[in-house]
C-alpha cells in the first residue's frame, strides 16, 4: 500500500516535471497516472495524494488558475516537488 501511494505520487510529480514549467490539467494528470496504476486510483486515493502533495507549508505542487476556464484545475511542480521526486 505504501509502495502504491509512493508510486502514485511519483507519477504525479514525474508528469508535472515533463511539462517544462507549464501547468497540467488535473484530469490529464490523473489519466496519465491511471494509465500505469492497476487498479486505477480511487477518488479517495487521488484526493489524499493531491492533498499530500499540495499541502502547506512546502507544497510539492501548486494550483495555477486557467485563463480560459475557471473550473479547470491545473497544477505545476515546485522546487520542493522536484526535491521529493529525486528522492522517490
Amino acid at each position: 500500500m505504501i509502495r502504491r501511494t509512493q508510486q502514485i505520487r511519483k507519477r504525479i510529480l514525474e508528469t508535472l516535471l515533463c511539462a517544462q514549467g507549464y501547468a497540467v490539467p488535473e484530469e490529464t494528470l490523473r489519466s496519465y497516472v491511471d494509465d500505469f496504476e492497476r487498479p486505477p486510483t480511487t477518488d479517495d486515493e487521488w484526493a489524499a495524494d493531491i492533498k499530500f502533495l499540495s499541502d502547506p507549508p512546502a507544497p510539492r505542487m501548486v494550483k495555477v488558475p486557467a485563463a480560459m476556464d475557471d473550473k479547470l484545475i491545473q497544477w505545476t511542480i515546485t522546487e520542493a516537488g522536484r526535491a521529493l521526486l529525486a528522492s522517490l
Binding site: 514525474e14 508528469t15 515533463c18 511539462a19 517544462q20 514549467g21 507549464y22 501547468a23 497540467v24 490539467p25 484530469e27 490529464t28 489519466s31 496519465y32 494509465d35 500505469f36 495555477v64 486557467a66 485563463a67 480560459m68 476556464d69 473550473k71 479547470l72 491545473q74
Partner: protein, 174 residues
Amino acid sequence: MQDKEVRSDAKLKNLRPEMLETLWRLRYPEEDGEKLTLEAIAVALPKLVGFSASLSSLSDFFKWLRFKRRMEASAATAAQARLELAKDPNLDPADIERAAQAVFTAEMLEAGNVRAYVALAKLRLAGQQVDLDRRRIELLERKASQADQANEVVNSELGDGEARDRLKTIFRMG
C-alpha cells in the same frame, strides 16, 4: 527483483534525448521502418544502452515516453504561440504567459476534453465579437463624422458645384 526493475526503469528515463529518440524510433518507426516488438527491443537493449530491462519496465517506459513526447510537442506549440504573441506590442508579458499556458492546456486536452475546447472556442468568439463591435463603432463614428461634415457643407454659402464636389469628397464618391 522489484528494486532491479525500478532501477532499470529510472535508468531508461534518464537516457540522453538522442537515445530516447532512437528507442522511440525502434518501437514507432517512420513510414517505411520496421516496428520492433518489446521482446526484440529487450534483446537489443544491452548493446544499445549497456543495461537490460524487463518487458514490463520497457512497456512502462514506452508509455512514459509517449506521454513525455506529447508534453514536449504541446510545450513547443505553446512556445511558438508565445513568440507570435510577443510581436504584438499591445500585449504585456503576463498576457502572453496566460495565452501560452492556454495553448499548452488546450494541446494537452486534445484527447477528448470537450469542455476545455468549448471554453476556448467561447473565448475566441468573445474576441471576435469584441473585434466586430469595434469595427461597428468605427463605422458609426465615420458615418457620424461624414454627416457632420455634410451638414456643414449644406449650411455653408458654397456654390452648388463646389458644394457637390465637397460632398463627393466627404463620402468618397467618384
